[in-house]
C-alpha cells in the first residue's frame, strides 16, 4: 500500500491538491528567497519562504554549495528584523543550512550579540545555533559565556548550554571538561530538565573517573532527583558503579541494591522498568534479589500499553537465558502474549517460553507457535527456530513433535537465511539425538526435492552421504539423491555424484546398482560431474583388498585433517618445482583466535557449519623460515611451534624471546633477538644452552647470528636431539653471547678497525613441557568423536586442585597445562557456577587423537576437585595425559 520515497509534490491524489506545498520546486523557492534581501523586511512573507525551504530540506532535498551559500547570506540579513516569530525561524534555518566554516564568520557577530541579549530566549537560541556551527577556536572565545549560561537562572538558557555541552564534548572534550563546576551546580537546579541534562553531561565528563562517578551516584541516590528521566539515568549510572565495584573485588553486601529496589516502587513506569532491568542485569544476581524485579515485570506483561509490554517481555527474555527458573512464574501471562497484535512482543514471548517451558508443556507450546508462524517475518522466524533447536537439545525425548514442526515449516515459503536455520536445526538434532536420525534424513530428502538454494542442497547431500549409509535401509535415500542428477544445476549434480559414491562404498549390496547410476553420469554436460563420476567409478571398481578399502574410505570420508587456512597459506608458499606439493607438510595446528575476533564471531557454530576457521598467524612465517634452512630439512615435518616465550624483561638492552619447534626426534629452539641500543652493533650472536636439567636432550648443532644491528631483529637457532616420538621434558638455562662493536649513531656504521669486545648476557630459563607435544585440533562434533573412540581404552581419574578463586581459574590451569583445544564453547563458565564440564581435543605427538572430558566441582570452601576422563587412539597416550596432570 505504501509508496515510500514518492515526494509529496509528485502525488496527484485529489484530496491533496489543497496542499500549501503543491507543486513546490526548489528553483522557485530559491528565487522567492530573494525577498530576504528587501530593504523593508516582510516578516510574514519571509517566514513562509523559510517554511518552504524547511519543507524541501526535510524531504531530503539538498542544496548545492552555491545555492546554500546564497540562501545563507540572505538569511543573515533577517537579523535586522525585530519580529520574534521570524527570528525563531531564522535560528532554525541557519542550523538546517549548516554553513561551512568560512561562511560562519558572517553570522557569528549577530549570534554573539544575541547570546548576550537581555531577551532570555535570544540567548538560549543563539547558544544552540552557535554550538552547532562553530569550531574549536571560536569555542574558546565564547566559552566564558557558555559557562555563565549553564548557571543562568532561566532554565531554558541553562538547558540549551548543557545540551550544547553534550554535543561539543564529542568534538572539543578538553574545553567542555573545564565546565564541571558549573555543571555540578546545574545538578542542584530546581528545574527538572536542567538537572536531567546536567546529570547526563557531568557523567560524560567524568565517565573515566570511577571514584568521581561513584561519588556522584552516592550523593544523588540519597538526595532528590526531580524527573523520571534523570532518575532513569541515575539507575544506569548506579548499575555501572555496582559493576565496577564488583570488578575491583569489593565484596560484602551489594552496594546500592536498596536504592534500585526502592525505584521499583517509583510512580513513573519508566523508572520501575529501568530499575527492574538494572537488577536483572546485576552480575551474579541471586534469586532473592531477582524476585521483586520479576514481580513488577510480570505486572507489566498485562499492561494495556504495548511499549510497557515490550519492555517487560524483552527484559524477561534476557533473564530467561541465565535464570530460566526465575521466569517460570510469568509463563501464563507470557502465553497470552503469543496472540499479541504486536509481533515483536509475540516473538519475544515465544522465545522466552521456549527457554523456560518444561517438558510437559512442549506440545502445547508447539501448537500455539504453529498458528503464529504464518504471520511473522523471516527474521522473527529464525529466532523461533533457533530457540526450538536449543529446546530439542534440552528435552531429547520431545524430538518427535519438534522435528515434525521443523519439517512442516521447511515446506513453507521462506528466504535463504530462514531455510538455512531450519536445516541447521534438523542437522543438529540428527547429530545429537540418534533416534531422530532416520526421520530427520527423510525430511531433508524431501526438502531437496524442491529446494531453490544450491548451497543448502549441496550441504544436505554431503550430510546424507555421511549419515545415510549407516541407517537401517540406506536404499530409500538413493532415489532422492539420483533425482538431483537429472533435475539440478551442475554444482548440485556434482555433490549428488559424490554422495552416491559414498553409499556405493559403504553399502556392499548397493554397490552394483550405484555403479550403474554412476555410469550414466559420465555423459553429463558438466566437466566436474563427469570427472567425479569417472573417479568414483574407478574407486568403486577396486579389488576390495583391505588396504585399498581403508584408502578409499579415507579418500571418501576423511576430512581434510588440516585447517583450510593453513592449507591455503602452504599452497601460497609453495613454489612450483619438480617436487610435488605434499599435503602432509601442512601444519595441523588450529591457531587460537584473538579475543576480539572471538567476540565478533559471536555464537558457536551449529548444524552444518564446520569448526571455525582459524586466522593466519606467525606459524606460517615459521614454516617458511625453517624450510629455508637446509640443516633442518632432514628433521621431517614440524609437529608444533609454540608461541614465543619471553626470555628478557621488557625494556632491557637486548630483547630475546624463544619459539620451540617440535619435530618427531628433534627440538629446534629459535631465539628471536632484538638489539635496542642504537650505539651498538652485535656480531656472532649465539645462545649457549645448558641442558643439564634436560637429560633426554642432546645438543646437535647451533646456528649463530652473524650480525645484529640496532632494531633489526634476527634469529639464532639451537638444535637438540631427543628420543623419537617421546614427549621428553626438561629445563634449559640460556646465555646470550656476542661481540659488541660501537656504532656512530649518525651514520649507523661501526668503525672498521674496531675488533669489538666479547660479552654475554644472562637470559631467563626455558622449559619444554608436556603441553608442547600437544597440537590444538578441534572436532566439529565432540559427542560423535567421543563415541567413535573405544570405551575400553578410556582412562578415568580424580584429582584435587586445591583452593582456587573460581572455577574458571582451575579450568584455565588445566587447559594451559594440556595445551588442548577447548570444544563447543565449554570455556565459558556461568558466573556462580559450582560445577562445570570442559571438553578438550588435540593431537598428541605421533599423530594420536586425544579427547578429554574434564568435570570440575567446587565446594563451599572453594576447594576444587576434577574428574578427568581421557580417550585416545593409543591407550598409552591416555595414560600419559593423566601423568601430565598428576605431575602438573
Amino acid at each position: 500500500m505504501a509508496q515510500p520515497l514518492v515526494k509529496k509534490d509528485d502525488d496527484h491524489d485529489d484530496e491533496l491538491e489543497y496542499s500549501p506545498f503543491m507543486g513546490i520546486e526548489k528553483g522557485a523557492v530559491l528565487q522567492e528567497a530573494r525577498v530576504f534581501n528587501d530593504a523593508q523586511v516582510d516578516p510574514r512573507r519571509c517566514s513562509q519562504v523559510i517554511t518552504k525551504l524547511l519543507y524541501l530540506l526535510n524531504q531530503g532535498e539538498s542544496f548545492t554549495k552555491v545555492e546554500a551559500t546564497e540562501v545563507f547570506f540572505s538569511v543573515t540579513k533577517l537579523f535586522q528584523s525585530k519580529d520574534t516569530g521570524l527570528r525563531r525561524m531564522v535560528y532554525l534555518i541557519i542550523k538546517e543550512l549548516s554553513p561551512s566554516s568560512d561562511e560562519v564568520i558572517i553570522v557569528t557577530s549577530s549570534l554573539m550579540k544575541d547570546m548576550n541579549s537581555k531577551i532570555d530566549m535570544y540567548r538560549a537560541n543563539a547558544i544552540r545555533v552557535l554550538c552547532r556551527i562553530i569550531d574549536g577556536t571560536l569555542l574558546t572565545q565564547i566559552e566564558r559565556y557558555l559557562k555563565q549560561a549553564i548557571v543562568d537562572k532561566n532554565p531554558v538558557v541553562s538547558s540549551a548550554a548543557l545540551v550544547s555541552g553534550l554535543h561539543l564534548l564529542r568534538t572539543n572534550p578538553e574545553i567542555v571538561k573545564r565546565w564541571s563546576n558549573e555543571v555540578q551546580e546545574g545538578i542542584q537546579s530546581r528545574s527538572a530538565l536542567v538537572q536531567f541534562h546536567a546529570l547526563a553531561l557531568l557523567h560524560q565528563i567524568r565517565q573515566n573517573d570511577r571514584l568521581a562517578v561513584s561519588k556522584l551516584v552516592g550523593g544523588l541516590t540519597r538526595g532528590s532527583v526531580r524527573s523520571p528521566l534523570a532518575q532513569c539515568l541515575l539507575i544506569r549510572y548506579t548499575s555501572q558503579v555496582i559493576r565496577d565495584m564488583a570488578n575491583h573485588g569489593q565484596s560484602g553486601e551489594r552496594p546500592f541494591y536498596e536504592f534500585l529496589e526502592s525505584c521499583l516502587r517509583h510512580k513513573a513506569e519508566m523508572v520501575i522498568l529501568e530499575a527492574a532491568r538494572a537488577i536483572t542485569e546485576l552480575d551474579g544476581v541471586t534469586s532473592r534479589e531477582l524476585t521483586p524485579a520479576i514481580t513488577v515485570l510480570q505486572l507489566f506483561l498485562s499492561s494495556p500499553r504495548p511499549v510497557l509490554r515490550f519492555a517487560a517481555v524483552r527484559t524477561l527474555n534476557k533473564v530467561a537465558m541465565t535464570h530460566p527458573m526465575a521466569v517460570t512464574n510469568c509463563n501464563i501471562d507470557m502465553e497470552s502474549l503469543i496472540s499479541d497484535q504486536n509481533r515483536s512482543i509475540a516473538t519475544l514471548a515465544i522465545t522466552t517460553l521456549l527457554k523456560t517451558g518444561n517438558e510437559s508443556s512442549v506440545e502445547r507450546l508447539m501448537k500455539q507457535i504453529t498458528n503464529f508462524m504464518s504471520d511473522i517475518a523471516d527474521e522473527f522466524k529464525i529466532v523461533v527456530v533457533e530457540a526450538i533447536r536449543s529446546l530439542c537439545v534440552k528435552f531429547p525425548l520431545k524430538y518427535r513433535s519438534l522435528m515434525t514442526f521443523l519439517s512442516n515449516i521447511l515446506r513453507e515459503e521462506g528466504g535463504f537465511e530462514y531455510k538455512r536455520a531450519i536445516v541447521d536445526s534438523i542437522v543438529t538434532i540428527i547429530r545429537d539425538i540418534p533416534d531422530a536420525k532416520e526421520s530427520g534424513l527423510l525430511h531433508l530428502c524431501e526438502f531437496i526435492e524442491d529446494c531453490e538454494f544450491t548451497y543448502l542442497s549441496t550441504q544436505i547431500l554431503h550430510f546424507l552421504g555421511i549419515e545415510g549409509p549407516n541407517t537401517s535401509d540406506p536404499s530409500k535415500y538413493i532415489r532422492y539423491i539420483y533425482n538431483r542428477v537429472h533435475l539440478e544445476n551442475a554444482t548440485v549434480r556434482a555433490a549428488a555424484v559424490s554422495t552416491l559414491a559414498k553409499f556405493g562404498f559403504m553399502v556392499e549390496s548397493l554397490k552394483p546398482r550405484i555403479t550403474i547410476l554412476l555410469k550414466r553420469c559420465i555423459y553429463d554436460s558438466d566437466d566436474e560431474v563427469r570427472d567425479r563420476a569417472t573417479l568414483f567409478l574407478s574407486v568403486l571398481g577396486g579389488d576390495g583388498t583391505v588396504d585399498t578399502d581403508q584408502e578409499t574410505k579415507d579418500f571418501l570420508f576423511g576430512s581434510l585433517e588440516v585447517p583450510l587456512v593453513n592449507l591455503e597459506t602452504s599452497l601460497k608458499n609453495y613454489e612450483p618445482s619438480e617436487e610435488a606439493f605434499d599435503v602432509n607438510s601442512v601444519s595441523r595446528e588450529v591457531k587460537s583466535q584473538p579475543l576480539a575476533e572471538k567476540k565478533a564471531q559471536g555464537k558457536k557454530p551449529t548444524g552444518l557449519g564446520a569448526p571455525p576457521a582459524a586466522p593466519a598467524s606467525g606459524f606460517d612465517g615459521y614454516e617458511k623460515l625453517l624450510s629455508s634452512i637446509p640443516e633442518f630439512a632432514a628433521f621431517g615435518k614440524v609437529f608444533k611451534s609454540s608461541p614465543p616465550v619471553e626470555l628478557t624483561e621488557p625494556e632491557t638492552e637486548y630483547a630475546v624471546n624463544v619459539v620451540k619447534h617440535i619435530y618427531d626426534s628433534h627440538v629446534v629452539l629459535q631465539y628471536n633477538c632484538t638489539n635496542t641500543v642504537p650505539e651498538q652493533l652485535l656480531e656472532r650472536v649465539n645462545v649457549i644452552v645448558d641442558a643439564s636439567e634436560a637429560e633426554e636432550f642432546n645438543e646437535v648443532t647451533s646456528k649463530a647470528l652473524n650480525s645484529l644491528p640496532y632494531d633489526k631483529p634476527g634469529q639464532a637457532f639451537v638444535v637438540f636431539k631427543k628420543p623419537a616420538g617421546v614427549p621428553a621434558v626438561g629445563k634449559f638455562s640460556n646465555t646470550l653471547t656476542f661481540v659488541v662493536k660501537e656504532v656512530d649513531p649518525s651514520t649507523g656504521e661501526a668503525d672498521a678497525d674496531d675488533d669489538g669486545v666479547e660479552d654475554e648476557y644472562q637470559l631467563e630459563d626455558l622449559e619444554v613441557v608436556a603441553g608442547d607435544y600437544m597440537v590444538k585440533v578441534g572436532v566439529s562434533n565432540f559427542r560423535n568423536a567421543w563415541e567413535s573412540m573405544d570405551e575400553e581404552d578410556e582412562r578415568v581419574d580424580e584429582y584435587g586442585l586445591g583452593q582456587r578463586d573460581s572455577l574458571g581459574e582451575a579450568v584455565n590451569a588445566v587447559t594451559d597445562l594440556l595445551g588442548m583445544q577447548i570444544c563447543e564453547g565449554t570455556e565459558t563458565i556461568p558466573t556462580n557456577a559450582r560445577s562445570h564440564t570442559c571438553l578438550l581435543s588435540g593431537v598428541y605427538i605421533g599423530n594420536v587423537k586425544v579427547l578429554v572430558r574434564a568435570q570440575f566441582g567446587m565446594d563451599s570452601s572453594k576447594d576444587i576437585a576434577m574428574k578427568l576422563t581421557v580417550r585416545a587412539e593409543d591407550v598409552s597416550v591416555a595414560d600419559a595425559i593423566h601423568e601430565i596432570v598428576a605431575c602438573g
Partner: protein
C-alpha cells in the same frame, strides 16, 4: 541517540524526516523500512496508540496521529521507554499546534510551527524539552511561564 524522527502521511509519503548520526547512504534504507513498518501495522490503530519494534540493536516506536504517522528510531540510552516518552511529547506538541489530531492538510498548514516544536524537543538526537506548554511559548520566543 535518537537516530531518526520521521513523519509520513497515510499513503507513506514522507512529510518530515530528520536523521542524526545516520550516514546518508543508510537513510534510504531506514525511510523504506519505516514506511513499510507503518503500512504493515498502523492500519486501524487508534490515535496515539504506541507500537514498538526492534531491528538489530535499535528500537522503533511509532504511532498514528490523525492522518499522520510518526516514527522514532533510537539506540543505546534511547530505548523503547525513552522513545515512548519522546513521542508522547511530540504528539502532544503537534496536537497543540494543530488544535486536534491533524489531517494532512492541517499538518502542512502548520508545517513551520511543527518544525519549530520539533527543534525544541529533539536537538541533534538528544531530548531537550518535555513540556508542551513550555514548548508552545518557546517557539514564539517567550520565556517559560515559571520564569
Amino acid at each position: 541517540m535518537i537516530l531518526a524522527v520521521l513523519f509520513a502521511n497515510s499513503v507513506g509519503n514522507v512529510l518530515i524526516e530528520r536523521f542524526n548520526g545516520v550516514p546518508a547512504e543508510e537513510r534510504l534504507h531506514w525511510r523504506t523500512f519505516l514506511v513499510k513498518l507503518g503500512a504493515d501495522n498502523l492500519k486501524g490503530v487508534k490515535n496515539e496508540e504506541l507500537l514498538v519494534a526492534c531491528h538489530k540493536s535499535v528500537y522503533i516506536v511509532y504511532t498514528m496521529l490523525g492522518d499522520v504517522s510518526i516514527f522514532l528510531v533510537g539506540k543505546d540510552e534511547y530505548d523503547e521507554l525513552a522513545l515512548a516518552e519522546t513521542i508522547y511529547i511530540i504528539t502532544a506538541a503537534v496536537k497543540d499546534v494543530c488544535g486536534k489530531p491533524p489531517t494532512e492538510r492541517v499538518f502542512l498548514d502548520k508545517y513551520g510551527r511543527i518544525c519549530l516544536c520539533l527543534d525544541e524537543i529533539v536537538w541533534n538526537g538528544l531530548l531537550e524539552n518535555t513540556d508542551k506548554d513550555r514548548i508552545k511559548r518557546l517557539i514564539r520566543l517567550k520565556p517559560p511561564s515559571e520564569v
